[in-house]
Amino acid sequence: MAQIFHRSANSLANITIAAVILGIGGLLWASYRIDQGSFITEVGIARQQPVPFSHKHHVTDDGIDCRYCHTSVEVSPFAGLPPTETCMSCHSQIWTNAEMLEPVRASYRTGQSIEWTRVYDLPDFVYFNHSIHINKGVGCSTCHGRVDLMPLTYKANTLYMQWCVECHRNPAKYVRPREEVFNMTYQAPGNQMELGRRLVAEYKVQSLTDCVTCHR
């Protein structure tokens, strides 16, 4: 009786086994990498805005405090986006003819708000409050990165639950003195854990990891 399979079937069988194992492993690895990468998370990718607003220019060059524009960050869940009047408090005097700022002036003339694109957009099933974080010693730059160095604003962190929970499980790793919260150039000291533990006790920071803390 003739052979059913050619000699090459032996190699083919081995290659198939290897290909299946490597293929499944590779697929899992690739999907994990894609999930973590900026294609999905948009970390490090500047969003298109109606006006190319530069935090770098306003914070570093001009020395404007975060709270000049984000006025409600210390007292409300929402940090606050400035009304056009805030922009015009300077731009009615300087760069009044700049082409780039025409949408701002148009907004001022018509009373229509500028439609900024949210960079940090939490899912709607997550409850988040800025004021509690600010008041318990979580710095702006801890979550938002060095905004003072961003010509165009991008996400510095994934906002994955993984990332939230990492701090919620052990806040001492990230807490800083309250007076340093708005300091964009703050560097964690060498004894962060020691300082963190002290601040956690002093500010009565709780490690809240119940589902209902954020998913209310």
């Binding site: 009786m1 059913i4 399979f5 079937a9 032996n10 069988a13 994990y32 999930d35 973590q36 994934t158 994955y160 639950m161 993984q162 929970v165 990492e166």
Partner: protein, 472 residues
């Protein structure tokens, strides 16, 4: 290799309760007879097979409709309501998982115990195990509410930094059932390899030769192949053995770990395992008896097989009866008002008292007929009793799940459970899935182990040699 349809010299007569093989068989006739079921021309397939498969296939379609509707509308289409959150899905899950256990017991434990009557029914019951586990595994996933997130049950590095709760028996289930499915599949497939090679050599068309050839993975039947094969098979049998006990113990923990009266019972693990084997043997009999008749396999699946299975059913049924007795006794002996109320509600006061009465009738009273040798020798009677036990074991799970949940500690939360048409459609749908797979298996693969039957022939013709059991 001749291409003629092999002629069978042995006649299909049952050799009686003493023998595991009919008279006149040699290596060739056994091979031809079992292979003949698969290589039978399409037009000569027994009509009952077509009818059976058609019924199964209709039920598969009902299943698909029921599941589609479930995915569109959510679990609200079922009769579940708080506090009866489990309902049919878990009843059917436990029932199907239990049915699978007979296959593992026959394949692994009876192999290690060198029971000669396991040989012609092991392949068949292993396939049954596999298909039953597939049906069982669907229910908890359908019951999730958002079944497309079922992979959350698996611990894997995820962006939420969450892991499944290791203290929950529901997670133990995931591991128990997936291990069970994997080991059962490996065991079944490993057992098939030498037979697949036989099928490859016997197949008439090039397509059949190729398909069986790929599946046989280059088996040539050399001494080295056999030596390794027997080691592997014995190892797998050893791996499967603890699973007979562990899987259903873990399933019983779903109930026993909870503090609900009627569930929170230490006797659950052994009593569930006995019940699983009980229902599994009932299912093997319910399937083997008709198939044996349709394909005239009375000389391979003899009265000895049927009688042995009937005896196992009787024995495990008595363990289950002891379990019921203990539940009643502990309800009284504990002096706990909730336990006592639960039992009274289950057996007498509740609106589902009749399911309990039916359960006792099906699982305890009727199977007692198997004490009589005349009944065990009557194929029709054994078939009917096996169906009754299948119903009874389903009712057992229904009584445990539903009557306990309907009446929990707070009378303000009491409620009544009524299954909807979608509950029934899903349940009967999985029976269709099971039957269809079973019929396809019988049609496409040797449903009885050819090489092990040849070993039986060898033992019968060479009684002076020590038994060449696996791994010796």
């Amino acid at each position: 290799m001749d291409t003629e349809q092999p002629t069978t010299t042995a006649v299909s007569i049952d050799p009686g309760p003493a023998k595991v093989l009919g008279p006149g068989h040699d290596y060739g006739t056994v091979t031809d007879k079992i292979g003949g079921v698969v290589f039978m021309p399409f037009t000569k397939t027994p009509r009952q097979m077509f009818i059976g498969f058609a019924c199964g296939f209709v039920l598969v379609n009902i299943f698909l409709v029921a599941v589609t509707w479930l995915f569109i509308r959510g679990v609200g289409v079922w009769g579940i309501r708080i506090p009866i959150a489990w309902g049919f899905a878990i009843v059917n899950f436990v029932w199907w998982i239990g049915i699978g256990h007979a296959g593992t017991l026959i394949s692994a434990i009876l192999l290690l115990l060198k029971q000669d009557w396991r040989t012609s029914i092991n392949r068949f019951s292993e396939a049954m195990t596999l298909f039953a586990v597939a049906c069982a595994g669907m229910f908890p996933i359908l019951h999730l509410g958002r079944p497309w997130l079922a992979y959350w049950l698996v611990p894997y590095p995820n962006t939420m930094w969450l892991w499944p709760q290791p203290r929950s028996p529901l997670i133990w289930d995931v591991f128990a059932v997936s291990t069970y499915a994997t080991v059962s599949l490996l065991f079944w497939f490993t057992g098939l390899i030498p037979d697949l090679a036989t099928m490859r050599d016997k197949a008439r068309g090039p397509v059949g030769r190729k398909i069986y050839g790929v599946l046989a993975m280059g088996w040539r039947g050399s001494a080295r192949h056999w030596s390794r094969y027997q080691k592997a098979y014995l190892l797998l049998a050893g791996l499967s053995t603890p699973l007979v006990v562990s899987v259903h113990s873990v399933v019983s923990f779903d109930f026993a770990i909870a503090i609900l009266p009627g569930w929170h019972t230490t006797i659950f693990p052994p009593y569930f395992v006995a019940g699983a084997i009980y229902s599994g043997f009932a299912m093997v009999l319910s399937l083997a008896i008709p198939v044996r008749r349709w394909y005239h396999l009375e000389d391979l699946i003899t009265m000895r097989h049927i009688e042995c299975m009937a005896k196992v059913m009787l024995g495990t049924g008595l363990i289950v009866a002891y379990g019921y007795g203990m539940e009643a006794f502990i309800a009284w002996y504990s002096g706990n008002q909730y336990e006592r109320f639960m039992y009274m509600n289950r057996a007498w006061l509740g609106h589902y008292w009749w399911t309990f009465a039916l359960l006792i009738t099906c699982n305890i009273l009727i199977p007692q007929a198997l004490w009589s040798r005349r009944v065990r020798m009557n194929v029709g009677a054994v078939f009917v009793i096996s169906l009754v036990v299948n119903v009874g074991m389903w009712l057992e799970r229904f009584v445990i799940v539903v009557t306990s949940l309907e009446r929990d500690f707070l009378s303000s939360s009491w409620n009544r459970y009524y299954p909807t048409v979608w509950d029934w459609a899903t349940y009967f749908g999985t029976i269709g899935v099971f039957l269809s797979l079973m019929f396809l298996f019988i049609r496409g693969l040797p449903a009885i182990s050819i090489f092990e039957m040849r070993e039986v022939v060898h033992q019968l013709t060479h009684p002076e040699e020590p038994s060449p059991a696996h791994g010796d």
